[in-house]
């Protein structure tokens, strides 16, 4: 997300709008990426994002292959470069990569010739998630500029939070982060966010409430004393949501831990929760990204002598 200008973000969102319409047709398929190969290379399991990218590619006519690489804790990195070189020899046009290490996608992109899309790297970024969140908000509220967005929960380990903060700030929204200090990265205020430790004060007058998954699999120590205590202070329930604007939207990147960071009652409220819409927008945004990147792909065949 870092480095994208407002104009570029708007262009992606506008294009994604077209794909939302297309995806609601009976014939959802285009031939824009016909003959192109897209490989979804996932070093970390993710059903949701992988399926979303797979559908996006297929609807644009690409041949999509999914690769899940089991990662042992020690030899992870070796697998990364080796796999990249091997795949590169098969001339894929697009690589969609998710990796548990920050910066791994960046490293891999320097070793391959085709386009590389970051589908989430460590605690660093998850750009398409931020884009689909922005599209969801823009469709519901008509704008991003001037909105107050509260991002709540495990900010420290969240690539979704980082990408969203960068995008929303770029687009002129006010961003707050709400979490206990143990779940906030050091110097997070340098990203241009208001820091709150109390849900009620943080949610006051918010247009958007973005909940994050408490990423228990990333936690190597005790960041919070118990799930019970966490839900008591930081779980989103009707009571806390009442502090936000009456029409405030509730978002969550999924998968949700119902009863840990969000009350099922709120998550399933069709008037407030746009969580399912986020999933729909995900496919459209990823089609837009694939579309835009494919315009830069070479149209020349690969030279024989290589």
């Amino acid at each position: 997300m870092e480095g994208l200008s407002p104009a570029e973000i708007i262009a992606i969102l506008d294009l994604a709008e077209d794909y939302v319409a297309q995806n609601r047709q009976i014939d959802k398929k285009q031939s824009l990426l016909r003959g192109r190969t897209q490989i979804n290379l996932f070093f970390e399991s993710s059903t949701r994002t992988r399926t979303s990218f797979e559908l996006a590619g297929k609807r644009l006519g690409a041949d999509v292959i999914n690769m899940s690489v089991a990662t042992s804790a020690i030899k992870k990195g070796e697998t990364l470069i080796d796999t990249a070189m091997t795949l590169n020899a098969m001339h894929p046009d697009v690589l969609v990569v998710r990796h548990p290490d920050s910066g791994a996608v960046n490293l891999l992109s320097r070793k391959v010739d085709g386009s590389v899309i970051n589908a989430g790297d460590g605690s660093h970024e998850h750009p398409t998630q931020a884009l689909l969140d922005a599209l969801t908000i823009r469709r519901r509220l008509g704008r991003l500029n001037g909105l107050t967005v509260a991002i709540c929960g495990d900010i420290m380990h969240s690539r979704v939070a980082r990408s969203n903060i960068l995008l929303l700030n770029t687009m002129g929204a006010r961003v707050r982060v709400i979490a206990p200090p143990t779940l906030l990265p050091v110097e997070v205020e340098r990203l241009g966010v208001e820091v709150h430790h109390d849900m009620r004060s943080g949610l006051a007058d918010c247009d958007i409430v973005m909940m994050l998954r408490l990423q228990t699999e990333r936690m190597k120590g005790a960041f919070v004393p118990s799930i019970r205590e966490y839900f008591h202070f930081y779980g989103l329930d009707r009571d806390k949501l009442a502090c936000a604007r009456p029409d405030a939207l509730v978002m969550h990147p999924g998968p949700m831990n119902r009863g840990i960071e969000i009350d099922p009652d709120v998550a399933d409220d069709i008037h407030r929760s746009v969580i399912r819409e986020q999933v729909e927008m995900g496919v459209a945004v990823r089609m837009a990204v694939l579309d835009l990147l494919s315009r830069h792909l070479s149209n020349r065949p690969v030279a024989l002598a290589q």
């Binding site: 990195g77 290490d101 920050s102 910066g103 490293l107 050091v186 340098r190 190597k220």
Partner: protein, 434 residues
Amino acid sequence: MSGRRVAYLNARLLDPASGLDTPGGLLTEGGLIADLGPELAGADLADDIETVDCGGRVLCPGLIDMRVFSGEPGAEHKETLASLGQAAAAGGITTAVTMPNTEPVIDNVALVEYVARRARETAPVRILPMAAISQGLDGRAMTELGLMAEAGAVAFSDGTRAVADALVMRRVLSYASTFGLLVVQYPEEPALARDGVMNESEVAMRLGLPGIPACAETVMVERDIRLVELTGGRYHAALVSTGAAVGALRAAKADGLPVSAAAAPQNFALNETAVGDYRTFAKTDPPLRGEDDRRALVAGLADGTVDVICSSHTPEDAESKRLPFEQAASGIIGLETLLPLALELYHNGHLGLSALLATMTINPARHLGLPTGRLTAGAPADLLLFDPDLPWRIDEDGFRSKSKNSPFDGRPVQGRVWRTVVDGACVHDRTGEA
């Protein structure tokens, strides 16, 4: 005494130990310095004396590097004692102190003797082993400090690991004081540093990398200073990188405690922004810090609080570095860049030339109890002849080290080694090189 006699004439003699800084000459006989002074000139020399025209360059004691990691034994593909010795000679280093973090760990008398013997047989410079404080670097059971010292270990350290247990550290400092041994601590509280891979800061936050807070260093240095106060043991902080640690050491020195500290060029020549876009060559321990800490470290070097500069030479092969940042090995090679990078402090006006050279000659010699590191008649003829101003660009292709992991490749620097002499014999000579 007999032996080959060499006269180094037309030199700028610089000896930080005595404060000598004068044009003159120096005569070696066999492995020792026989005579030196401004009067020593070509005319009155006997015919059998070989002469070297120094061309007005600086002739000083050979450098002593207190922190060098060797691949041998165990990781000879990264560095052998032979390649380490050649790199050291090219860098003007006449004594390299190797750390015990090898495979196996240097934690018993036989291994200390093994390293010393292999070094004598294969390396052109002096290589003196530092031995482990704890068996297998486990931080618990003390090694045979006294016996290993008799076998040639010049100091004791767990290298890249801190002795974290306060009681173990207390006993080690206390026991080591019996023999006046130097305890070299890597000052980083492991619990606070655990998952960290770079300085904890805005840069780390933006990159999504787990950080090592500056206080991981301060906590350990401050604790150790209290233990030194309690035991009277001689303590050396292997590497410091933060302003707070420098401040704590400054106060301890003012109180007269037997503490000293070293810094590596990467920590005073670079800051955390060198990590940039996940550059693994900039991953090192302690991590490159923020600009405020870097400046405070320079101030600590300038006022003598940090009294040693060492390379912390850590050879890593390409495979260990071409990984995602969190997985990549930590460390930077430094034998061949120690002098020019240290000279930046002189060229930038932070330290005088003599004070700067003291951090790499007489100061480590005193801490380690070595007879080298000074220009005195009767001392070993370990010498460095260098041009302090000559500009050049660091080029990894020129490195003698088997590993090339340096973030300084391409950096313009000033100051170049001209000749390195160990025991009166030339081990590196730039004459004839491009």
